[in-house]
Each structure stands twice: as structure tokens, then as C-alpha cells.
Subunit: 194 residues, 2 copies
């Protein structure tokens, strides 16, 4: 009746292993041989769980994108003054990035060599655009320092948030919430009026 838990790979648990290797060696720098060694099963066995190497990438990237776009649907991102929504989104994006660190890391490193990668880049641009609109609204409300260049500020804001994937390691140093808080505080000190 109840399906007994077996200690074997599911597509998702295999994905978790694969993503770690992708991050360490880069997607193109990772061979199926590398993956099989890290997973402890043979190269051909991997194909029992997933169709291809690229499917692993697609699954990982989808998970990251779902998390990021999900933030834009949350109440804090849809109601209230633009500057407040912007601050909410900034904090939540940082949190999602920290919670789904390996998957978002992979998303941010995609270069556009395959159809999957180009699709990921397009979705990412779309997300950035949505946040840029928030910045424009906040500027129209007069809640941003008058001398900020909106497109430039958007770039630098994302640059700061996204850089987290380059150095954050869970359990070492600053905690998740502290990082998110520091990002919000540092970024908005340079943006907000008063």
C-alpha cells in the first residue's frame, strides 16, 4: 500500500547532485562521467532518470525562475507604494536566491549556447524588466534620489543581489536573514530620498 521509501535516485534527487557539479565545474566543463562519479552510479544509469544532460540544466533553471517570478505574485509585491514594493521584492529576491542558491547560481551563469540557455536568458531579462518598472514607479512618486539613473541603478541593484551566489555558503559567516537585510539596507541607502 504505502510506497516504501527506497534509497534510490529520483529525477529531483539526481538533479540536486548534478547542480552541485555544474556549479563547481561549469555546465560545459561537466561531463556525464563527472556526474556519474559524483552520483555514485554509472553514466548510462543517469539516462534512466533523465532524458539528457540538457534536461538537468532545464529543470534546475526552471526551479530558479519559478522562485523568482513567484516573488512578484506575493501580496507585498502587488500592493502599496512603489518604493515599499521595491524594497519588499529586493528582500524577497535575496531570500529566494539564498534558499534556492544552487539553482539560481546556475541560472545566473547561463551563456546562451543552447535553446534552453537562450530561453533562460530571455525569462531573466523579463524578470529584470519587471523590477526596473518598480524603480520607475518609485522615481515617479519622488521616493528615489533625483540624481539616480534608473537603468543604471537597476543594473547595480541586481549586481549586488546576484553577486551573493559568488560568495555565500550556508552555515558559514553571515546568516540568510542578515545577508538579505544587509543587501536591502546598503542598496536603499544609495537609492532612497531622505
Amino acid at each position: 500500500m504505502t510506497m516504501a521509501k527506497r534509497d534510490t535516485y529520483t529525477p529531483d534527487s539526481l538533479l540536486a547532485v548534478a547542480v552541485e557539479v555544474f556549479i563547481e565545474r561549469g555546465y560545459d566543463g561537466t561531463s556525464m562521467e563527472h556526474l556519474s562519479r559524483a552520483a555514485g552510479i554509472s553514466k548510462s544509469s543517469i539516462y534512466h532518470h533523465v532524458r539528457s544532460k540538457e534536461e538537468l540544466l532545464r529543470r534546475a533553471i526552471s526551479r530558479a525562475l519559478d522562485g523568482l517570478f513567484g516573488v512578484l505574485e506575493e501580496p507585498g509585491a502587488t500592493g502599496g507604494r512603489a518604493i515599499e514594493r521595491l524594497e519588499y521584492v529586493t528582500r524577497r529576491v535575496a531570500e529566494v536566491l539564498l534558499d534556492e542558491l544552487p539553482y539560481v547560481t546556475l541560472l545566473l551563469r547561463v551563456r546562451g549556447n543552447t535553446d534552453t540557455e537562450r530561453w533562460a536568458m530571455e525569462r531573466r531579462r523579463e524578470f529584470d524588466h519587471r523590477v526596473a518598472e518598480l524603480l520607475m514607479e518609485a522615481a515617479a512618486d519622488g521616493d528615489l534620489r533625483p540624481d539616480v539613473d534608473i537603468p543604471l541603478a537597476t543594473r547595480l541593484l541586481f549586481g549586488m543581489i546576484n553577486s551573493i551566489v559568488e560568495w555565500y555558503r550556508p552555515g558559514r559567516g553571515t546568516s540568510r536573514d542578515e545577508v538579505a537585510e544587509a543587501v536591502v539596507r546598503t542598496a536603499f541607502a544609495g537609492l532612497r530620498t531622505s
Copy 2:
């Protein structure tokens, strides 16, 4: 007598072509076939100018590192109050990054798969450490907001600066000096006291 200029490749002019392809496709995602097509010469001809694919990477990375470490030797980085030196270094690093954009881009994307890449990562860490020291000095002088976490602030500062390589394209949008100025202003608004 005078060596007539011939329109043929030098190791450096070939490097410029190769670096562009490396950035577009990623180092591991670039084959010598890709390089030969971009350079307009055959694959084997490339080996007349450079010893290997990895030598191209090493040359590019060296150029980036020389530029960055060079900043630390400039007068503005060695004399005066720590907070002033920090601001000088921040601006100059942004400028060097913009001037040597493709080479620094490559440096920042290295993952550590080969000896060359591991060497690059070590030199980079060394550079980051030098700047982190400046932050500590400035904090000791009481010129930084008392609530800033020094290691964290260092990460975010570099995150913002380094993100430039992800979006800046010369001749499009904001100018070199405007970008450098915006980085300094935005970053120091969140760091400096008063």
C-alpha cells in the same frame, strides 16, 4: 629596413579575437574550431601564434590581473586617509574593469578546472583581501557606519563593481566615467558615516 606592417595576426591581436569568443560561449564551450572560424584562419594556424588554448586564457587573465593590481600601486591608493584610498581604489577598479572589459570579464568567470584557472582564482582572492584591508582600516578610523559588517560589505562592494561586466557595453547607454561615478556614489552612500 623598417619592418613593414603586415595584416597578419600577432599573439595579442589573436588574443583579442579569442577573448570575445570565450566571453560569448564560455571558455569550456569554445572549441578551437570556433576560434578558427572567428579569426578567419584555420585551426592549425592558431598554433603558430600560441602554444595552446589554455595559453590564450592565461594571457587574457594576466592582463586583467595586471590592471587590477596596478591600481593598488598608484599614489592615490597608497597615501592619505583609508576611506579616501578606498574610494580611490573603488573608482579606479571600476575604470580598469571598463577599460579592459573583456579580459576582466574572463577573469571573473573562471571556475577552477585547470591549473591556470586555480592560479587566477588565488590571485583574485589576494586582490579582494587587499581591498578588504582598506575597509578595515577605514572602519578603525571611524569613517564607516558602525553597523556595517566588514566582510559582508566587501563582498557587496565587489559584487556591485564586478557586475558591470554582465551588462556594460561600450558606446551604449551610460559612459565609462558615469558608470564609475555611479558605482562610487551608490556604494559609499551605504558605507560612509555622515
